[in-house]
Symmetry: C2
Subunit: 213 residues, 2 copies
Amino acid sequence: MSSEKSQLSPRIDKTGNIDILIAAAECFMEQGYHATSIDDVARRLGATKGRIYHYYRSKTELFFDVHREGMRRNFEAVTPVMKGPEPAAKRLSAMFRQHALSMMENLALEAVVVQGVEMHRFGATTPEQRRTLAELMTVRNDFESLFKRVAYEGVEDGSIRTSDVSVAVKVALGAINWLSIWYRPRPAETRDDREILADKIVGSIMQGLNAPA
Amino acid sequence: MSSEKSQLSPRIDKTGNIDILIAAAECFMEQGYHATSIDDVARRLGATKGRIYHYYRSKTELFFDVHREGMRRNFEAVTPVMKGPEPAAKRLSAMFRQHALSMMENLALEAVVVQGVEMHRFGATTPEQRRTLAELMTVRNDFESLFKRVAYEGVEDGSIRTSDVSVAVKVALGAINWLSIWYRPRPAETRDDREILADKIVGSIMQGLNAPA
DNA sequence: CAAAAAACCTACCAAGTAGTATGTGAGCCC
DNA sequence: GGGCTCACATACTACTTGGTAGGTTTTTTG
């Protein structure tokens, strides 16, 4: 967690300082992006503006990197369970479960991801910002496509039945992303508690509310 | 819609001017609350600040009233179908359906509702704002309770089966509220189109993704 | 250990914005 | 038809905040 200082792709490693990202994410979650001043983030870090502007050229770039880190963790959580010999419905369940757990355990980052990128559509002025924006939207679509693909496999192997895969996936992801609105960890919460909640959510998504007969 | 000028409860009728609420909602949806200046809203109205401050004492109050109007329409859409002789599962389906349609047809208002009130927790300084805030949170809870109540009825009459009613309702409402993120009306969209989408969503929520056997 | 670079901090400015104070025209009331 | 109120518009202020320029301390390097 501290050894990958300056190697690897320059793309992802511009996240010079994970502390800054976390502090920013927490501020953005609590007050929203625009209501958060750079000084707010700095104060939460026990530092000053200087530190932040040493790593990020603008507030917008800081936001973008928070978003990137959130999405990175989403992929990290989901991709390991999406392939395998099981029927697609099983794998899709596992993906939902992992995503729900990731939402809970990276709450601040994921709240920023959910808060979204749409807001910046109008504010993005420079060409570079527009390109970054497009990149982030692509990443989001790719993430959703992961689920769609497995869902389609499920339709083909008969383990999933739905009238519209695209809508069904949006419904499921909406239900999970909604965690960022209402879920707040209780003081002495354990991993077990989170897994129980994740299982209930996945159960609701997969079985629905109707009695089987 | 224009006759209730200065009668009735002073609480709800402070919505002196629905045009202002709509314009504000659209701005808030596109740019977010804090990024929207009062001048932005005024410009969209083809007017100036003066008009807005004539009806609302502060930007915060304007936001609160947008939220109120959004919630009012939510109740308006759902309450007519929540009672009746049908089994609870049927009624709950109808409620979800109505709510989804309300989300689509009042997109801007509902996007503000979804964007939420949590953001203002820290910013609310005056005692009156804090009281208003508490009021809005109560209304939100009441709305969710509507669904919970019918869901419980469903558990009792056997038309609904779930491991946790509270979680199941949050999952369902999350799925529907998520519409405010991804749904945008296509140019020549009809009421039929929206009903088809709503039915697909409700189907997903009620039946889930698993094949019935 | 000197020097260069990295990692910050301090002080400042220009731009944008919530809110106010005042002005004004149109309708209404008697 | 004169006064009064409503429904805005205009002009301005006080304050916040993103970003910058330059200084200082700590770490790395040769």
